[in-house]
């Protein structure tokens, strides 16, 4: 029933049975196992280091309870800490502030911005909003077509952008059209770009200063490895993002990037993409991802009940 990490931790604590406290030494040994698990899950090296330091502190001197084995107890501390770090504010898209609500989608190439734009528009429409999809990617071949197709499928209007217009002009124009037609929620789909591409990062800043944005979402692929921190840090530095969307989560990635991104940006993970279909967007559940990062499923529910 117990899988990898639990087994490994039970091994570490075998010698401990009977004694009353978790000692510094067996904590250290068990933290080695936790460290391995986190690195295997693609949590960033430095983030793991900080995390282990924090958790070790909490674990030392903890009384061993009767209901949980020492291994289970360490897992519980680790898991709880992960949930806390991943969680924080669980606010969704803010709809009650200034109108129209304006959302800009950003991120690396191929992370899922355009698809998520469609998914988000669908959710907002179902909430009674009047979304307007705005293709502001003039670079990727057929990017505008792609969003247009999604708009048609959802029966949601799409701004008639053309590739000969500057993205910032497209956004401005779309704002005007939205005002005229009574669309209250604009979603700007921007081109994928590398965080090191200063010219293209500048383009996003230009949109940011031209349009009063309610949300800037950073869309990241859940399969991302160690580099997630570098990328997220730069997008957040340049744009002060308001939230994160993690895509392609229905696969078998452990999703350590979630922790890396949350750690360096401090910004809430608002949604999780779980498929290509337009209804495959969910709100984020920190506890689920914590279990997944640790590589364990239902074991934790058992521990939590204990």
């Amino acid at each position: 029933m117990f899988d990898n990490l639990t087994d490994r931790l039970e091994g570490v604590f075998k010698k401990l049975r009977g004694t009353g406290k978790l000692t510094e030494e067996n904590i250290k040994e068990s933290m080695q196992e936790v460290r391995m698990a986190l690195l295997e899950a693609d949590v960033n090296f430095q983030v793991v280091k900080d995390f282990i330091a924090k958790v070790s502190e909490k674990a030392v001197g903890l009384e061993v309870t009767k209901t949980l084995s020492p291994g289970q107890q360490v897992i519980k501390i680790v898991h709880d800490e992960l949930v806390e770090l991943l969680g924080g504010t669980t606010e969704q898209i803010r709809l009650d502030g200034r109108q129209p609500v304006t959302i800009m989608m950003t991120g690396l190439q191929g992370s899922g911005k355009t698809t998520t734009s469609g998914k988000l528009a669908k959710i907002l429409k179902e909430k009674g909003r009047k979304p307007y999809l705005v293709p502001a990617d003039i670079y990727r071949p057929a990017a505008i077509d792609q969003l247009q197709v999604l708009g048609e499928r959802l029966d949601i209007p799409v701004h008639p952008s053309t590739t000969d217009m500057k993205p910032v002009e497209i956004c401005r124009q779309a704002m005007t059209v939205a005002g005229q037609k009574g669309y209250d929620t604009l979603i700007f789909d921007t081109a994928g770009r590398l965080h090191v591409d200063e010219a293209l990062m500048g383009e996003l800043k230009e949109i940011q200063s031209a349009i009063q944005l309610s949300e800037i979402l950073f869309v990241a692929d859940s399969m991302t490895g160690q580099d997630a921190v570098t990328v997220a840090e730069k997008f957040n530095q340049d744009l002060e993002i308001s939230g994160v969307v993690l895509t392609k989560m229905e696969g078998d990635a452990r999703g350590g990037a979630a922790l890396s991104i949350k750690s360096v940006t401090g910004k809430p993970i608002k949604f999780v993409g779980i498929g290509e279909a337009l209804d495959a967007l969910e709100v984020f559940h920190p506890d689920r991802i914590a279990s997944r990062i640790l590589g364990m499923g239902d074991v934790l529910t058992l521990i939590e009940k204990a």
Binding site: L39, F45, K248, E250
Partner: protein, 300 residues
């Protein structure tokens, strides 16, 4: 960025100033290798091996340690059952099928490869067997226009196997040199979609024996450990003959391919270093390893 520069610099100074191999050096090496997405297991294996040699006094010079590590990594990357170069059939069109998870760069890589073949004087037929993703056909058509080659396509939602079959038919009849088949991105864990991929492959083989001759798996260099699972499951399903590693123009190092090459004995054929048509290079293990260690950057 800050992280990248500090790593690169640290690597440079790491070896230069040192007279002996100590625990600090190993710690820093561990950070560099893990941060390059090599994975904890491969990293530990590499370093444990080196530690043993240091203990046996077989290794004492930091510079030499670096050379030994590079050599070892090189051997992982070169562990391949397949020839490094693309192998064309003796006669008839050379059929390449391109597969991978969503958004890694399959369609773009096809656009770039097409240019290479065209420059070599070959006629190329592109096949839009991604009938699923919104505007996937339109995207491939633009790459077709850029290369001035024909793109075979049907309506959205058509059976991709049927598209592929008809395309092979056409390629044989019109004596095309090269056929490149774009498939829809799919997660390797989706059994029904992997079955669909098998069918596309099977159907082409029925029309032209031996086709597809090359099954190219596209991997995104920003991907972490999950790339191993991708490679294994795509390989199990259709048998991968080569890899393309995209998005190496960012700060990600793509170190995970070392594990993939080693475990599956598949060669890396191309790397992608940008979104433009010329941003494709043949894979060079030494450049790759140097970049991984932060010693040099790729030739752009």
């Amino acid at each position: 960025s800050k992280t990248k520069e500090s790593l690169v610099h640290r690597m440079d100074t790491l070896f230069l100033g040192r007279k002996e191999i100590d625990a600090d050096l190993f710690d820093e090496l561990e950070e560099i290798l893990i941060t390059a997405d090599l994975g904890i297991n491969t990293t530990m294996e590499l370093l444990d091996d080196a530690r043993r040699n240091v203990k046996r006094n077989a290794l004492s010079d930091p510079q030499e340690l670096k050379i030994v590590l590079k050599e070892k990594l090189r051997s992982f990357l070169m562990e391949s059952d397949q020839p490094a170069e693309l192998v064309r059939p003796e006669s008839g069109p050379f059929v390449i099928m391109v597969v991978g998870v969503n958004g890694v760069g399959k369609t773009t890589t096809i656009g770039k490869i097409t240019k290479k073949f065209k420059q070599a004087g070959q006629s190329v037929l592109l096949v839009a067997a991604d009938t699923f993703r919104a505007a996937a056909v339109a995207q491939l058509k633009i790459w077709g226009e850029r290369n001035d080659v024909t793109v075979v396509h049907q309506q959205e939602g058509a059976d991709p196997s049927a598209v592929a079959f008809d395309a092979i038919d056409l390629a044989v009849a019109k004596e095309y040199d090269v056929v490149i088949v774009d498939t829809a991105g799919r997660l390797h864990t989706q059994v029904n979609l992997m079955e669909e991929l098998k069918k596309i492959k099977r159907v082409m083989g029925k029309r032209l024996e031996g086709a597809p001759h090359e099954i190219l798996l596209v991997l995104d260099a920003t991907t972490g450990q999950n790339a191993v699972s991708q490679a294994k499951l795509f390989n199990d399903a259709v048998g991968i003959t080569g890899l393309a590693l995209t998005k190496l123009d960012g700060t990600a190092k793509g170190g995970i391919v070392a594990c993939i090459c080693r475990e599956l004995s598949i060669p890396i054929r191309f790397i992608g270093i940008g979104e433009q048509i010329d941003d494709l290079r043949d894979f060079n293990p030494d450049d790759f390893i140097n970049a991984l260690f932060g010693d040099e950057t790729h030739n752009h």
